[in-house]
Symmetry: C2
Subunit: 329 residues, 2 copies
Amino acid sequence: MLRVPFTELASTLAAILVRIGFDPNRAEHCARLFAETTRDGVYSHGVERFPRFLEMICNGTVDIHATPECTQQFGALERWDGHRGPGNLNAWASMARAIELSADHGIGCVALANTNHWMRGGSYGWQAADAGVIGVCWTNTLANLPPWGASVPALGNNPLIIAVPRPAGHVVLDVAMSQFSYGALATYRRTGHPLPVDGGFDAEGHLTRDPAAIEASQRPLPIGYWKGSGLAMMLDMVAALLSGGLATHQIPTEPVKETGLSQIFLALNLAKLQPTEASAQAADAIVDSLLASGASVRYPGQQVLKTRAENLALGLPVREELWDNLLSL
Amino acid sequence: MLRVPFTELASTLAAILVRIGFDPNRAEHCARLFAETTRDGVYSHGVERFPRFLEMICNGTVDIHATPECTQQFGALERWDGHRGPGNLNAWASMARAIELSADHGIGCVALANTNHWMRGGSYGWQAADAGVIGVCWTNTLANLPPWGASVPALGNNPLIIAVPRPAGHVVLDVAMSQFSYGALATYRRTGHPLPVDGGFDAEGHLTRDPAAIEASQRPLPIGYWKGSGLAMMLDMVAALLSGGLATHQIPTEPVKETGLSQIFLALNLAKLQPTEASAQAADAIVDSLLASGASVRYPGQQVLKTRAENLALGLPVREELWDNLLSL
């Protein structure tokens, strides 16, 4: 594994995007979001995902020139059309707009239709928290998760992000509705380790910790069994209805053609209700009481800050083959 | 098990509330919410819970005369103080206010501090859906769930409700962040059945399906292990910070003294964006595609409608001893 400085990684990705026709400012922002994802340790959705992003530009799934457009507005609630532009830029613009709405209305909601994979959902949680607001967002996905009681995929693993700003370190949860992503299953399989808990069903319908058996059956487990199955459905339903866009059952099932996603971005402007010092104190007390409950307990986002600091100091880990490949583009 | 007609159950509970000093209109509403909960099959939080509610009035935890008061307002975001009034009436008023705000702003959010147990959270989801809006609400609770990595409770099992209106049957999810409630564990133990999936840790720290072992260890499992642990924390944090009220770590840990809860009520007014017929069609298509994925698949809320119809036809199931006890009050 190479260690590449953050700015070198970001500028390398940006240069590739400019060469394929991106506007330079948009290339810089899009590349930075990929690099920040790797910087923060979410390796599956950072630079590792960049080649697939390029493939989806080449195959016409992502339109690099498209920008989101407001199609309807009622008070603090807006509908935007992503016009199948780059998913991370669309998502960033949507959370930025929700934050703006929250400055006027206390709360803001952008429902975004017709967009593409947003890569790391947590990016938009950190964005909200950095702006000093509570952020909540989620996306639907193609069908990759069997509902509880079924053996074929009919739900997305629809990630949900909840972010609370805190001067001592934002608290940011970023969870998909499957217990383990396919990326995580592959990683366990390659290292020869069983999953730490049941992660899905094998071909015979038994719960298993064998990652390869779940990859083969295509039956990963929703978090909390029937509960995560219900949550995944609701997230899809609210995103599709509010945005007027596609629901999971309408999204192309081939991963490199996954498009037309529906997403929700909510910003809650706590600073309109109380001074940020009061919020910081209350947030710190909650974090402290959690951490006091056990030596190995972590709050959501805690590990990100540690990984970020390490990767900024040592350089971002990038597979040598991937790096060579990127430099050759 | 007796079968008591809905109106008889509701009026019996209301008469008891009037005798202990409730305003008659509030008594009728409070009693109806208890009866509707039993009607809908959520037996643990309906009439079965009524004696404990009376106890909490007698011990001063619930102030029957208190009504919620708006303490701060910024656009579509409001803070209310529940003044430790009856939890179900406070929650109902808060969701009603969120719905009202959504009529003006597209979205409305009420953050309620200083309230009491809301009984069945789903009540306020059905309330929103009946009013034609998407409703999202959650509450914190006393600490009853160990965070992932700890063996002592430091999180609440904070239920989350998401409700989508649909003419053919609302879709309403009502899930607590523990895989099984203590009520559910007790039911499995009494019937001598193991849990269908792991529900917590035994005294030695091993995952188990033995309900009694989990009751003894007080280590129920969050849904999705580390994921539900994170979700429970975020729900507490957002509720406490936005409402300016107590967080789980500040709530009295004795169940009959549990008070000062913080709750969030969100209403999203989809009808401001598109005709309800378009929403109904999109919702139906999502439900249909889910149900088509397997013969035993259910959508959230589906079973409630079936149970409701059965209980209205046959009378509501009430334990004979409980009924005798109520009639003697």
